[in-house]
Symmetry: C3
Subunit: 250 residues, 3 copies
Amino acid sequence: MPAARPIITFTTDFGLADAYVAEMKASVLRHCPEATLVDITHQISPQDVLAGSIALERAVSAFMGGTIHVAVVDPGVGTDRKLLVAHVHGQTVLAPDNGLITWAYRRLNPISTHELLWRPTEETSKTFHGRDILAPVAGLIGAGKGDLVPTRRLDRPVLLDVDIARSLDEAQVIHIDHFGNLTTNVPEELLTSETYVREIGKVRGTYSDVETGEPVVLVGSSGLLEIAVRNQHAATQLDLAVGSKVFFRS
Amino acid sequence: MPAARPIITFTTDFGLADAYVAEMKASVLRHCPEATLVDITHQISPQDVLAGSIALERAVSAFMGGTIHVAVVDPGVGTDRKLLVAHVHGQTVLAPDNGLITWAYRRLNPISTHELLWRPTEETSKTFHGRDILAPVAGLIGAGKGDLVPTRRLDRPVLLDVDIARSLDEAQVIHIDHFGNLTTNVPEELLTSETYVREIGKVRGTYSDVETGEPVVLVGSSGLLEIAVRNQHAATQLDLAVGSKVFFRS
Amino acid sequence: MPAARPIITFTTDFGLADAYVAEMKASVLRHCPEATLVDITHQISPQDVLAGSIALERAVSAFMGGTIHVAVVDPGVGTDRKLLVAHVHGQTVLAPDNGLITWAYRRLNPISTHELLWRPTEETSKTFHGRDILAPVAGLIGAGKGDLVPTRRLDRPVLLDVDIARSLDEAQVIHIDHFGNLTTNVPEELLTSETYVREIGKVRGTYSDVETGEPVVLVGSSGLLEIAVRNQHAATQLDLAVGSKVFFRS
């Protein structure tokens, strides 16, 4: 039985200046008028699949069983790239099979993946599968009609190279947030009370454990090592970018 | 009988930094607490009625019968410009009568237009009719109380000069989207497999029919001729702007 | 008895590029799946408590009894700053006790304030109390379980220095909106038909009472004296900023 008001989320690189996001929402509501619609973000940089992947993992981690996530960062629309259905934490993810699932695949377990075979009966644009395929499928699933959506197993979805650090040697910056804070790929489990990030310091509890303008490392709200500068923009202050290596001192 | 959960959409040039959009939503929810609220966009450039008009047409094309659209790009607020109620595709549009209805009027048929005569009983601001008149009316209509809203026929709404091209000689750029893709006023019906845009090429099916960085023309997701550069920002690459003529080669 | 569909609003400096806002919404929906979620703004400049305070007051003024507002501009997260519950106009405000309540406190009466003592049973991040404390509490209150949320009286919440002008001598700019219009702290009640702002003119009714490009003073949609330039960006044209004094001529 479907939820009384299923939650359907949206993660895209569409920006907010055009009607594209709303067109997807209309496609969802057409099939599932009771849905609660939640925007994750639409400000992924155009075609930045890694950033989209990280936002999508955050969405799955935050939401509850039954939630349906539509993610569209899709530079390959119109090519033969597949469309993906993933099941993880009792939730469903719909996305192009281009690596968008990477960060959820790395961090969340178990996750199963299928190829989405559903195509609408009416004519479909060749440039907007988010509106014409993924959103209607989200609406159908939300309305409890997921059995109308044919899929087949896809054991090896496309994944980006980025991965969770298995040792501090593999540490790198994977995301810069709105405040300029830097998320790394280092999970909390790799840290001890002695872990020391070179040129910054030991792992602290929160931003205010240092003075304003001072750099600080801590476990961020996503459970990963984060580098910040208190009340300032760390990426700018420390001249770090996505892909920058993070060095530790023993 | 009104829909159980009527959809009410918002298209404005208010931006997202202030509470203005939320103030309009409060005015809707006061009359229609069950409404599903959908943002089309609030990032129309200040007072860009043409861009608002195109977003509004996209909204009407995407949504279903019963949907109510509130559009506010209103440089003439406080003057004697009229307020408009339009009926199209079983949907209702509420907007200032300043040309915002233009692109829906040109592309969608049949459309009927009335002047909105409703004024609230409480005092109304002279600077925010979106919040004080249009949004409450949307809420009343959503709540099935549209008969409380007096109107009178308005056969000639204000329209902008821009129109659908009736021949390729009239082709021009009417919109640049978030990705830099250029929408023209050329409908699919004017195109043949031989149509060739000067300095770009023949009409293709999708972006990936050319190499990354190459320009391409295709029928966009709105059914109009679109000019793009694969995975790049066409407006910048090709130095085209809204109003630029598009030239064809026979 | 809680509302069938309680309205819960969000005012933050999180921006829209990350999943943070959605993470808060998930925390609300977990406790209150029927909530209607409304964004006030997420584009408060990072750590600009005054701007957040003004947006929050606008939200309370616009919404109806029963609405719950979550506001997070929280440079002191992780310090011993308190968390606040305010009751005003039959609505509930949840925010850090760092001055965010200031403008609602100054303008709206009566308002009562309490310290929020609720902490979740599961582990809480030290950097994201909006998601881990304020949003779940909003969800609990929305679901009619406010009695699970312990509080104690807090008679003197932290307030910023800014206040409503009690005379024209105290007039200053407190906010610049998306259009560049300047909101002052001067309430309508201080104005007469003879009030004259130096270098601008008498108080008018609306923007169109002057020519395009001309400055104008009027009572804005928030009931405060506003300085605008018709169809232009007043803050830039007049070189005024938040904190600028406004001078009058007798």
